[in-house]
C-alpha cells in the first residue's frame, strides 16, 4: 500500500517534470526541471532496486549533465526568440504528437505483455560471481563477465574528449579549456570550493573502493571526483591544464591502457584475453578500477567544460 502511494507519487512527479522539460519555452527553466527530473529518476532507480544505477543517474545523468546543459543555456540566453521562427507549424506539432503518442502506447502495451516469469541472468550471475571474488554483482558483470564492453566504454570517453577538443580554433590549440574566473565577490563559492573537495575526493575514492562489494564503482566515484575538480575550477582556485600537457594525456588514457594491459596479460596468467588469473581476479579488478576512476574523473570534467578557449600562458 505504501508502495502504491510512494511509487505512484514519484512517477507522477517524474512525468510532470519531464513534460516541463520538454515543452516549456524558457530554456533555463526547462534545464532546471531536467536536473530535478534526474534527481527524482535516481529515486526511481532506488525504487527499482538498483543503488548502483541510482548513484550513476544522480551524479552523472542529473549532476554533471545538468552543469553541462546550464553552461550551454547561459551562452545561448535570449536565443529562444530567434529559434522560435523555426518552430514547426501547428500541423507538424499535431502529427508529431500523434506519432509519439502511438509509439508510447505501443511500448506501454509491450511492457504489459512481457513474459511471466521474466527471463533473468541473475541466477547465472550469482553462480559465477565467486570466481570473480567481488561481491557486487553489477561490478562482476561490468568487470568480469562483460569486461569487453566496459573496456570499450572507457575508450568511448577518450574519443568523446578528443572529438570535443577537435572544435578548438587552430590558434588556441595547446591552450586551456574553460573560462578564467575572476569575480572578486564570489566568496561563498571559493569557500565552498575549499571545504567541499576534501570530503568529495574521499567520497569518490570510497565509492570506487567499496564498489567491489557494495553499490558503487569507478563511474560513480570518478563522477564525484570530476565534480570536485569542476568546483575548484569554477571558483578559480585551480586552472584547467593546457590540453597538450603530457600528464593530462596520461591521466586520460590510464584507465583504458591499464584495462588493455590487464586484458592482454590474461593470455599469460589466465585462460585467455580478458580472463583473470584464478585467485587473483579481485586485485586485477581493483587495479583496473583505480586507474579508470582517475581517467573517468579527468575526462568527465574536461568534457563538461568544453574545448580550449584561451592560450596556455595566461
Amino acid at each position: 500500500m505504501s508502495d502504491v502511494v510512494l511509487h505512484g507519487g514519484l512517477i507522477l512527479l517524474i512525468l510532470s517534470l519531464a513534460v516541463m522539460t520538454v515543452v516549456t519555452r524558457d530554456t533555463f527553466a526547462a534545464i532546471t526541471a531536467f536536473v530535478v527530473y534526474g534527481m527524482l529518476l535516481g529515486l526511481a532507480w532506488v525504487a527499482l532496486g538498483s543503488i548502483d544505477v541510482a548513484l550513476t543517474e544522480a551524479a552523472l545523468g542529473s549532476g554533471i549533465t545538468g552543469a553541462l546543459l546550464l553552461r550551454a543555456a547561459v551562452c545561448l540566453r535570449d536565443k529562444e526568440a530567434a529559434a522560435e521562427v523555426r518552430r514547426p507549424g501547428r500541423a507538424a506539432h499535431r502529427v508529431s504528437g500523434l506519432v509519439c503518442a502511438a509509439i508510447a502506447a505501443g511500448l506501454a502495451a509491450m511492457v504489459l505483455m512481457l513474459p511471466d516469469p521474466a527471463p533473468s541472468l541473475a541466477p547465472a550471475v550469482m553462480e559465477s560471481l565467486p570466481a570473480t571474488q567481488v561481491k557486487n554483482p553489477v561490478t562482476g558483470v561490468l568487470l568480469a563477465f562483460r569486461a569487453w564492453d566496459t573496456f570499450l566504454e572507457t575508450v568511448v570517453l577518450v574519443l568523446a574528449l578528443v572529438a570535443v577538443w577537435g572544435m578548438t580554433p587552430d590558434a588556441l590549440w595547446g591552450g586551456r579549456p574553460g573560462e578564467l574566473r575572476q569575480h572578486a565577490h564570489d566568496g561563498p563559492l571559493v569557500f565552498l570550493a575549499r571545504v567541499l573537495p576534501p570530503v568529495g575526493v574521499m567520497l569518490g575514492i570510497y565509492l570506487f573502493w567499496i564498489g567491489a562489494d557494495e553499490p558503487g564503482g569507478k563511474f560513480q566515484g570518478g563522477t564525484i571526483l570530476a565534480a570536485m575538480w569542476m568546483l575548484t575550477l569554477l571558483a578559480g582556485l585551480t586552472d584547467a591544464p593546457p590540453v597538450s600537457r603530457r600528464w593530462l594525456r596520461a591521466a586520460m588514457v590510464a584507465g583504458p591502457a591499464t584495462f588493455l594491459l590487464a586484458g592482454l596479460s590474461g593470455v599469460v596468467f589466465a585462460s585467455g584475453l580478458f580472463a583473470y588469473p584464478p585467485g587473483f581476479a579481485k586485485p586485477v579488478i581493483l587495479l583496473i578500477e583505480a586507474a579508470s576512476t582517475v581517467s573517468i574523473g579527468v575526462t568527465l570534467c574536461l568534457l563538461a567544460i568544453g574545448p580550449p578557449s584561451r592560450p596556455a600562458n595566461r
Binding site: 564570489d186 566568496g187 561563498p188 565552498l192
Partner: protein, 98 residues
C-alpha cells in the same frame, strides 16, 4: 521504549513536513529573490534537520544514524553556499539591467 521512540519519530517528521510546507509556500508566494531564498533555506534546512533527527532512532546501527547527521551537515553547508551565490547573481543581474 520503542513506543516512545516511535512517537518521537512521528512528531519530528511531522514537524519537518510542516516546515517543508511552509518553506515551499514561501518560495512560491514571496515577491523577491532574496525573500524566497530566505524562506527556502531557513525552513528547508530546519525541516531536513527535523526529519533526520526523527528517523535516527529507527536506524539499526549507530553508524547509520551518524551518516544521517553527516548528510544533514552537508545539506546545511551546500545550501548555505548555494543561496549566497544565487543572491549574489541576482544582485549582479539587477545592476546590469534594472
Amino acid at each position: 521504549m520503542s513506543l516512545a521512540l516511535d512517537i518521537f519519530t512521528v512528531v519530528m517528521v511531522v514537524a519537518g513536513l510542516f516546515f517543508f510546507y511552509a518553506g515551499s509556500i514561501g518560495m512560491l508566494r514571496f515577491p523577491t529573490v532574496e525573500s524566497r531564498l530566505h524562506a527556502l533555506t531557513k525552513a528547508d534546512n530546519l525541516s531536513v534537520g527535523f526529519i533526520a533527527l526523527g528517523v535516527m532512532p529507527q536506524m539499526a546501527e549507530a553508524t547509520d544514524a551518524l551518516k544521517l547527521l553527516l548528510a544533514w551537515a552537508l545539506i546545511l553547508f551546500s545550501s548555505a553556499a548555494a543561496s549566497q551565490l544565487i543572491a549574489i547573481a541576482a544582485r549582479r543581474n539587477r545592476r546590469r539591467d534594472p
